[in-house]
């Protein structure tokens, strides 16, 4: 048995999504840009998927731009909406935002010990030259939910020429993005974080928000993102999105109970354990712990041997785990960051998964501490 507790990295494809995709991987192979019957059928599937995605995100269908990933959506938002202005983001953004911002010399705003944006620092970083402010809705490592409503007020008051982008990639399984991100002009999502296929994302671009295409070509997606649409991909994303959206409330309640049991029991059973990030301020699926004196890199290997899939930090190109910029930005020491692991739950997580983790983690920590 494998206890998959890495849903923040990717989540298993939901059977409904796979079933919805299947025709478009086989007999319905038309290009949605073609005028003939096969093309029209593909076009209809894309149109319907776009309507579903728009409804789940609180947008109009014409505001949805399909992309090849959440990263691409983030890049399109930051680089495409920037114009010649200054971009601002938080220090705990995913690299898909942080690196585009840093590459154009943008401003990075700090966070508090829970990973919540420092609104005073944000205000200080804003001025009329700022054109994009990017604040993630939910952090990928520690699960912290950002106060977007307050962020919007600060942006309106201090950066009259800016649009707000929110990376909602980690948020969608847990948060009603159509409500929480209603004031954002740009919203990124990624299908595989909520039971859709990998290689598909979307960016909501509210009407009137200027976005310059980053990929030029055939003019698909209303000239905002060229390239033949991944028909099966967007169909799968829409199916997973609708399922997630309609069952979210029940999932959040159930998973939060599993997560609380996991975190509480580990805090109780394993001496020298600390939790990172205020649990009340994070999404239901995130459990972030550090075990004093235990290198997370070694711990993950032992957990893997025991059938528990977790993660730590983010992997670089070589596959090595890098010290987490998120944890360092929250004020953890490098040593604390190196002892941190993330166990992330999802809609398919079961009580048995938690049982296995509750046996494997204490055993592994004890082995690493006692030799």
């Amino acid at each position: 048995m494998v206890a998959y507790l890495d849903h923040a990295a990717t989540s298993p494809l939901r059977p409904k999504a796979l079933a919805a995709m299947e025709p478009y991987l086989t007999e319905q192979y038309g290009n949605p840009s073609s005028g003939h019957s096969l093309g029209r059928r593909a076009r209809q599937a894309v149109d319907e998927a776009r309507e579903t995605v728009a409804a789940c995100l609180g947008a109009q269908p014409g505001e949805v731009v399909f992309t090849g990933s959440g990263t691409e959506a983030d890049n399109l938002a930051v680089s495409g909406a920037r114009g010649d202005g200054v971009v601002v983001c938080t220090a705990v953004e995913h690299h898909a935002v942080l690196h585009p911002v840093e590459s154009v010399g943008g401003r990075v705003v700090g966070v508090d010990g829970n990973g919540v944006i420092d609104l005073d620092a944000l205000a200080a970083a804003l001025d009329p030259s700022v054109t994009v402010v990017s604040v993630m809705l939910v952090n990928n490592e520690v699960g912290t939910i950002q106060p977007l409503e307050q962020v919007v007020e600060v942006v309106l008051a201090h950066a009259p020429n800016a649009v707000l982008h929110t990376d909602a990639v980690q948020a969608f399984p847990w948060v009603d993005v159509s409500h929480a991100a209603r004031d954002a002009s740009l919203i990124s999502v990624s299908a595989h974080k909520f039971g859709g296929p990998k290689g598909v994302g979307a960016l909501v671009v509210r009407d009137g928000t200027p976005v310059r295409a980053q990929i030029l070509g055939g003019g698909q997606e209303r000239d905002r993102r060229s390239g033949t649409t991944d028909v099966a991909g967007v169909v799968g994303m829409a199916a997973a999105m609708a399922l997630t959206h309609t069952t979210r409330a029940a999932t959040v309640g159930r998973v939060a109970r599993l997560r609380d049991r996991l975190a509480n029991e580990l805090l109780k059973r394993v001496p020298g354990t600390a939790e990172t990030g205020d649990r009340g301020g994070k999404v239901a699926g995130n459990c972030h712990l550090r075990f004093e004196g235990v290198e997370s890199e070694a711990l993950l290997v032992l957990l893997d041997d025991a059938g528990v899939c977790g993660s730590a930090g983010s992997a670089c190109a070589s596959g090595a785990i890098e010290p987490s910029h998120v944890l360092l930005a929250m004020g953890l020491t490098a040593a604390e960051a190196a002892t941190s692991i993330r166990l992330s739950l999802g809609a398919t997580t079961t009580a048995e998964d938690i049982d296995l983790a509750l046996k494997a983690v204490p055993d592994a920590v004890a082995q690493l501490r006692n030799g």
Partner: protein, 343 residues
């Protein structure tokens, strides 16, 4: 036996893993990420990790990447730079083996419950738990790496496997080719792994320490030339130390960073009768003072007869000066007794 193989992405460690799998061991591969900066020759590039991973996949074994960049920086790169700043000539491969492969990696393997580690080094470990372990030269004398493993003690030798040590390099490549491993024809790594060959050592050091122009003087104190950076001169070096073809070649006899002076002399003046050595380590018991040994002072240098004096070695015949910082390794025939650092 559960064995963790250090897989660099080269052919030797690939074959080491393959041989252990064939022998029926429970094998897991791991690649250490050691260096975060630019590199083209070494052990940490994405391409090398990919090679290691693909070989592991071919062999059907798990493969992990361990990020040991912090230790590598603290225990190899920082001392390397400090040695140069002090006019010494460090051997970073020795320090990497001492601090990374046979310390942090070995401890990681222990923590994960492995019985032993393995590497692709060309050297041989013989013995048994009752009688103890010995470290010997690899069968392929041209590829022998026992010199850079001289710091291994009984504890490490007893938990280390060197599966290719009994093979020639040609045999290693033949095994890799027969097994269809993608690393079969990969060139051997050269030079210092964390220094990109384009910019080189002077650029690497120049970014980290101040390099000082130096005066070149002869043994009578006469100013005979200049060097761009005294920190880059190695005792025994001939190149770049004055006019070529002016009779007798001149070699660096001493490097004094404080006064930014390089003293040069003739080939005869380069010879010494004894070399002081510090920080001895021994593969088993320490050698008794007065033991007749063969001493080797570079990775592929010739071993020369000497007597162990405790504070160093006395050469049976005058020998070239050893650059301070280089390892002096003592052998009894093909067996490593131990080694230390030239003072």
């Amino acid at each position: 036996m559960r064995v963790l193989v250090a897989m660099s992405g080269g052919v030797d460690s690939s074959v080491a893993a393959a041989l252990l799998v064939d022998a029926g061991h429970d094998v897991v591969g791991a690649t250490m990420k050691l260096w975060g900066g630019p590199s083209d020759t070494g052990c940490c590039s994405v391409a090398d990790v990919e090679d290691a991973r693909r070989v592991a996949q071919q062999l059907g074994i798990d493969h992990h990447v361990f990020n040991f960049t912090d230790s590598f920086d603290a225990d190899v790169v920082v001392p390397y730079v400090a040695d140069h700043a002090a006019g010494r000539t460090p051997n970073p491969c020795v320090e990497c083996n001492r601090s990374l492969k046979f310390d942090r990696f070995l401890r990681r393997a222990d923590a994960l419950g492995f019985d032993a580690i393995a590497t692709g080094h060309h050297a041989r470990i013989d013995g048994d738990p009752a009688c103890g372990w010995s470290l010997g030269r690899g069968r392929d004398r041209d590829k022998d790496q026992s010199y850079v493993l001289h710091m291994l003690g009984q504890d490490q030798l007893g938990r280390t496997l060197l599966p290719v040590g009994a093979m020639t390099k040609d045999e290693v490549r033949a095994v890799a080719a027969a097994a269809g491993l993608r690393t079969a024809a990969k060139p051997d790594s050269q030079d210092v792994c964390f220094i990109a060959s384009g910019a080189g050592r002077s650029a690497f050091l120049g970014e980290r320490i101040a390099l000082h122009p130096g005066r070149v003087v002869d043994t009578d104190g006469r100013h005979v030339g200049d060097v761009e950076a005294v920190e880059l001169v190695t005792v025994g070096q001939r190149k770049g130390l004055g006019p070529v073809g002016a009779g007798v070649p001149r070699y660096a006899l001493a490097v004094d960073v404080a006064s930014a002076t390089v003293t040069v002399g003739s080939p005869d003046e380069l010879l010494v009768t004894a070399t002081a050595v510090t920080a001895w380590t021994w593969t088993a018991d320490a050698a008794a003072i007065g033991t007749v040994v063969e001493a080797q002072t570079s990775a592929h240098g010739e071993p020369r007869p000497a007597v162990f004096t405790g504070g160093g070695v006395e050469w049976s015949r005058p020998a070239k000066r050893v650059a301070p910082g280089q390892s002096v390794v003592l052998y009894d025939g093909d067996r490593v007794l131990g080694g230390g650092r030239a003072a």
